[in-house]
C-alpha cells in the first residue's frame, strides 16, 4: 500500500477542515507504541509456560505455537500502526487514526493475555506455571494501551478517499479472504475450547485495532469498488474449503450446519433487513419446506407415496412455503407492522402444533406427529448420489461436502436475489417504506405489495432451503422448528448487520460455530443471544457490519454521522 492519493480536497467534505496531515500531534505515544508492539512481537518467540500440555506446546523458544502466533500477528499490527504514526509508513498514517487503533489493539491484546494466563492457571495448576514470555506479552500489550492513550485521537480523517493502485487493492482483499478461510479452517480443527476462544479473541483484538484506526472504513469503500472481485474470491474460498479437509467429516458436518443456518439467515435478511418486517416465525417456513421434502422423499415413513424428481420437490416445497407466507402475510401486512411480529410468532406455534397433531389421531396422518419422518434417503440429483464420497482431482468429497457445495450454490442464489432486488426499483420502494410508510404510500409506492413480496419471497427461499435440509438431516420432527430457532436466526441477522450480506454471513457463522465448538457455551447460548439482542439494539443497532443506510436510520439525530456517510458517498460517486 505504498501509493496513496488523497482526493478529499476537492469534494465538499466537512472533514477537510480538520487538520489532516499532522503526524507530529501523535508524537508523544509513538516511542511507547514501538516498544509495546516490539515486546509483543518478541514475546511470541519466547516460552509462555512450563507445562507443554497447555494450549499446544508453549514451552519452546523461537518456535511459536498457534496461540503465540496470534500474538505475533497482533504485535506486527501494532508495529505497522507505530510506523504509520511516525516512521516509514507515514503516508499510510495520514488517513489512519493510529492512536485510537493502538489503544484498542492494546486493550484487545491485554484481554487476550488475560485469558491465556487464565487458561495456564486453570490447566497447569496455578499462575506460577507462566513463563517470562507470557509476562512480556502482557507488559507489551499494556504499554501499547498507554501509548494509544497518550497519542491524540483524530477520529475524522478521511481514509475512505485514499486509493491505492487497483491491483494492490484487489490483492489486499483477496489476501483478507484467504486469511478468513484459513482462520475458519484452523478454528474448526481446534478441539481445545480455550484455544478456540483465544483465537476468537485474537481475531477480535486485531479487528478492534483496525476498526479503531478507521481501517475498516477504507476496507468498506475499497470493497465496494471491487465488490465483484471480493464476492468471487469469497466464493472460491468457500468452494475450496472442503478440499482442505482431506475427506474428514468432522468439520464438514459442522460447516454444513453453519451453511444451512447462513442460508436461512440470509433469507430472513430479505424480510427483516430490506423490507423492515419482523418475521418471528421464519423457522416455520424452513420447516414447511423440510416437511414437503420429507414427505416427497420416498422415505418408508412418508405419508404420500409419490417421489417426484428432486427439482420438482424443491419447487413444491418453496411454493408451499410461499403460499403459507401469503396466507399469513396478506391479512397482517395490511395493518400495523407490529402485528406482523406477533402473528408470525403465533404462526410459528400453529405450524409446530399442526405438525404435532397431523398424526392420524387428532387429524389426518400426514406428519406422524411427534415422531416425525425419519429415514429420509440421500439426495439424488440427476444420478449424483449425495450420500457417497466422490473424488475431485483425487481429493475425496464426502457426503457432508456434497451437501455443503449444494447449499453454497443456494447461498449464491440467495445473494444474487438479495442484492439485485436491493438495487432496483423494488429495493428503493422498501427503503421508502422503512423510512416513512405513509409518505411512500402517498407517493404511489405499492406498500402492501412490496411487503408481501418480501414476506412471501423470504418464505419461498426458506422453503427451498428446507427441502435440502430434510435430506441433510435424514429425519424431520416438529421440535426442530420451534420459536427459539427463529429468535436465534434473528440474533444472527441483528448481530451481523441487517441489510448486509457480509454481516449476516458473519453473524450466522459466529453464532452457529460458537455453540458447536464450546460445549459449556451451548447451555447458555439462548441466554447470551437474548442479551445480545438487547445490547445490540441499545448500543449498535446497525450490527457489526453496518449497512450505511441502516446506520443512518438507527441514528436519526446523529448529524456528524450523516455528514460522514455523505462524504464517503460523494467519494464513491465522484471516482
Amino acid at each position: 500500500m505504498s501509493t496513496t492519493v488523497d482526493r478529499a480536497d476537492g469534494a465538499n467534505s466537512p472533514d477537510s477542515s480538520a487538520p489532516a496531515p499532522a503526524p507530529r500531534a501523535t508524537g508523544k505515544g509513538v516511542p511507547l507504541a514501538y516498544a509495546g508492539s516490539g515486546l509483543m512481537t518478541a514475546s511470541a518467540l519466547m516460552s509462555w509456560c512450563y507445562d507443554p500440555d497447555v494450549l499446544g506446546d508453549l514451552t519452546l523458544y523461537g518456535n511459536p505455537a498457534p496461540v503465540q502466533l496470534t500474538m505475533l500477528v497482533l504485535g506486527l499490527l501494532g508495529l505497522v500502526l507505530a510506523m504509520s504514526a511516525k516512521g516509514p509508513l507515514r503516508r499510510l498514517g495520514a488517513g489512519l487514526d493510529t492512536s485510537r487503533g493502538a489503544f484498542r489493539l492494546g486493550l484487545g491484546a491485554v484481554a487476550y493475555m488475560a485469558l491465556t494466563l487464565a487458561a495456564i492457571t486453570a490447566q497447569a495448576g496455578g499462575l506460577v506455571n507462566a513463563d517470562p514470555g507470557a509476562w512480556v506479552a502482557l507488559v507489551g500489550s499494556l504499554v501499547l494501551v498507554v501509548a494509544g492513550r497518550l497519542g491524540v485521537s483524530r477520529p475524522s480523517r478521511n481514509i475512505g478517499a485514499m486509493r491505492a493502485k487497483g491491483w494492490v487493492e484487489i490483492l489486499v482483499l483477496v489476501a483478507l479472504v484467504a486469511i478468513a478461510l484459513l482462520l475458519v479452517a484452523d478454528g474448526l480443527t481446534l478441539r481445545d475450547p480455550w484455544a478456540f476462544v483465544l483465537l476468537l479473541l485474537g481475531v477480535g483484538a486485531a479487528a478492534a485495532g483496525l476498526a479503531g484506526a478507521n481501517a475498516f472504513t477504507w476496507l468498506g469503500v475499497t470493497a465496494s469498488y471491487h465488490s465483484r472481485v471480493l464476492t468471487l474470491a469469497a466464493f472460491v474460498a468457500a468452494f475450496a474449503f472442503p478440499l482442505t479437509q482431506n475427506g474428514s467429516d468432522a468439520n464438514m458436518s459442522i460447516a454444513t450446519q453453519v451453511i444451512i443456518f447462513s442460508a436461512t439467515a440470509l433469507g430472513l435478511n430479505i424480510v427483516v433487513g430490506l423490507a423492515g418486517l419482523l418475521d418471528l416465525g421464519y423457522i416455520a417456513f424452513l420447516g414447511a419446506g423440510a416437511y414437503v421434502g420429507a414427505i416427497l422423499s420416498g422415505s418408508a415413513f412418508a405419508t404420500i407415496d409419490w417421489q417426484p424428481p428432486f427439482l420438482v420437490t424443491v419447487i413444491i416445497g418453496a411454493l408451499f412455503s410461499a403460499l403459507l407466507g401469503l396466507i399469513i402475510g396478506s391479512p397482517t401486512l395490511r395493518v400495523s407492522g407490529d402485528y406482523l411480529a406477533i402473528v408470525t410468532l403465533a404462526f410459528g406455534e400453529i405450524f409446530r402444533l399442526a405438525m404435532f397433531n397431523l398424526d392420524g389421531n387428532n387429524g389426518p396422518k400426514i406428519t406422524n406427529g411427534p415422531n416425525g419422518i425419519p429415514a429420509i434417503p440421500e439426495l439424488n440429483f440427476f444420478g449424483f448420489d449425495f450420500g457417497v464420497t466422490h473424488h475431485l482431482f483425487g481429493i475425496p468429497i464426502t457426503r457432508f461436502s456434497n451437501y455443503y457445495l449444494l447449499l453454497l450454490c443456494v447461498i449464491a442464489l440467495i445473494i444474487v436475489i438479495f442484492s439485485n432486488l436491493n438495487n432496483s426499483r423494488i429495493g428503493r420502494g422498501w427503503v421508502a417504506i422503512r423510512e416513512d410508510e405513509k409518505a411512500a404510500d402517498a407517493m404511489g409506492v405499492n406498500v402492501f405489495g412490496l411487503k408481501l413480496l418480501a414476506f412471501a419471497g423470504g418464505a419461498f427461499l426458506a422453503g427451498l432451503a428446507g427441502t435440502i435440509k430434510a435430506h441433510h438431516d435424514v429425519s424431520v420432527t416438529p421440535d426442530q422448528y420451534q420459536f427459539l430457532e427463529s429468535a436465534f436466526l434473528l440474533a444472527a441477522v441483528v448481530l451481523g448487520g441487517m441489510g448486509t450480506v457480509g454481516g449476516v454471513l458473519l453473524g450466522a457463522v459466529v453464532l452457529k460455530l460458537l455453540p458447536e465448538k464450546l460445549r459449556f457455551f451451548s447451555e447458555y447460548r439462548l441466554l447470551i443471544f437474548g442479551l445480545l439482542l438487547v445490547l445490540m439494539m441499545r448500543f449498535r443497532p446497525e450490527g457489526l457490519v453496518a449497512s450505511k443506510r441502516r446506520k443512518l436510520e438507527f441514528h436519526e439525530d446523529d448529524e456528524h454521522l450523516a455528514d460522514k456517510v455523505q462524504t464517503i458517498h460523494l467519494e464513491e460517486k465522484t471516482s
Binding site: 426499483r425 427503503v431 416513512d436 407517493m443 404511489g444 409506492v445 443512518l552 455528514d563
Partner: protein, 299 residues
C-alpha cells in the same frame, strides 16, 4: 350556505372554458365528535392555481388528506377527470394527483435523486423477476427513471444536490425536493401543503416562480398557504375554510376584502374596522411561527 353562493357567482377570472380536472363534492371528515371538514366542494380546472386559506385547525390539511386518499372521507366523493377516486393513496397518485406535506415527509436517509426516483415508482413496471434477472427491460427502465429524476431535480433547481442525503439538505431545498418528488409521479393536479412555511422572502419568491412554471407546464395546482401576499400574487381563485366549512370562494381580491375572512383570522368580536391586509399577514405569520416552534419541538 356560502358554498352555494360561491358557485352561483363563479369566479370571474377563472378560466371556466377549460376542462374540469378535479372535482370534490360534499366532502365531510369526522373524527369522533369533531367534524374537521364539513361539506366542502372544490372544482379545479386545467392550468388553474387555486388557493386554500383559513386559520389553523380549519381543516385544510385534512381536506388534502381526504382528496389524496390518506383519509377515507366520512361522506362525499372526489373525481379526477370525471372518474371517482377510491380513497387509496396509490390509486389517487396513479390517477394523476400528487401532493407535498405540511411537515416535510421526505425519505430522510435517501439521496435527493433516490427520493425523486421513488416518485417514479408508480410509473414504472419492472417487477421482481426483471430486477433479479436484470432483464433489458429493467435496465432500460432504470436508466429512464434515473434520467427523468435528474431532469426534475434540474427543473426545481436542485441539479447540483443530486447526491445529497435529504436530511442534510437546507430546509428550503427540502421543500423543493418534495415538489420534485411529487412531480415525478406525472400528476395532472399538484397539491401543495404550505410550500413556503419557514422560508425566507428570497426562497418564497423562488417558490412562487417555481409554482408558476409548473402551472405553465399545464398542471393544475392547489396550494394551502398562510402568506397572504403569496396567495394573492399566485392564485386564480381562493377558497377560505373556517372550522371545516367553506366561508367564501372567489378571486383573491374578493376574498381579501371580505370582512368575514379577516374576522375569522383574527377573531375580532369588537366590531372595529377590519385591519389592513399587511397587518393580517403579520398576525398570521406570528401564528405560523408559534405553531412551527411547537412542531419543531415535537419533530
Amino acid at each position: 350556505m356560502s358554498t352555494a353562493v360561491a358557485h352561483d357567482t363563479g369566479a370571474p377570472d377563472a378560466p371556466s372554458g377549460r376542462d374540469v380536472l378535479l372535482e370534490a363534492r360534499g366532502v365531510v371528515m369526522r373524527f369522533g365528535g369533531l367534524t374537521a371538514v364539513d361539506d366542502v366542494d372544490l372544482t379545479v380546472r386545467e392550468g388553474e392555481i387555486v388557493g386554500l386559506i383559513g386559520p389553523n385547525g380549519a381543516g385544510k390539511t385534512t381536506f388534502f388528506n381526504c382528496l389524496t386518499g390518506l383519509y377515507k372521507p366520512t361522506e362525499g366523493e372526489v373525481r379526477l377527470s370525471g372518474t371517482v377516486l377510491p380513497p387509496k393513496p396509490g390509486r389517487v397518485v396513479r390517477a394523476g394527483m400528487s401532493r407535498t406535506f405540511q411537515n416535510i415527509r421526505l425519505f430522510a436517509n435517501m439521496t435527493a435523486l433516490e427520493n425523486v426516483m421513488v416518485g417514479r415508482y408508480c410509473r414504472t413496471k419492472a417487477g421482481a423477476f426483471d430486477s433479479i434477472l436484470r432483464t433489458p427491460r429493467f435496465r432500460r427502465e432504470e436508466a429512464q427513471t434515473r434520467e427523468r429524476a435528474q431532469e426534475l431535480l434540474d427543473y426545481v433547481g436542485l441539479g447540483r444536490s443530486t447526491e445529497l442525503l435529504a436530511r442534510n439538505m437546507p430546509y428550503g431545498d427540502q421543500r423543493r425536493l418534495e415538489i420534485a418528488r411529487a412531480l415525478a409521479t406525472d400528476p395532472k393536479v399538484l397539491l401543495l401543503d404550505e410550500p413556503t412555511a419557514g422560508m425566507n422572502p428570497q426562497e418564497t419568491a423562488d417558490a412562487e416562480r417555481l409554482i408558476f412554471k409548473i402551472r405553465d407546464s399545464g398542471l393544475a395546482v392547489v396550494v394551502i398557504e398562510h402568506d397572504m401576499r403569496f396567495i394573492f400574487n399566485l392564485c386564480d381563485r381562493v377558497l377560505c375554510l373556517v372550522r371545516g366549512k367553506t366561508l367564501i370562494e372567489g378571486t383573491p381580491g374578493e376574498v381579501q376584502s371580505d370582512p368575514r375572512v379577516i374576522e375569522a383570522y383574527i377573531g375580532t368580536g369588537d366590531g372595529t374596522e377590519p385591519d389592513d391586509p399587511d397587518d393580517i399577514d403579520a398576525k398570521i405569520e406570528a401564528q405560523v411561527e408559534a405553531r412551527e416552534a411547537r412542531e419543531g419541538g415535537r419533530g
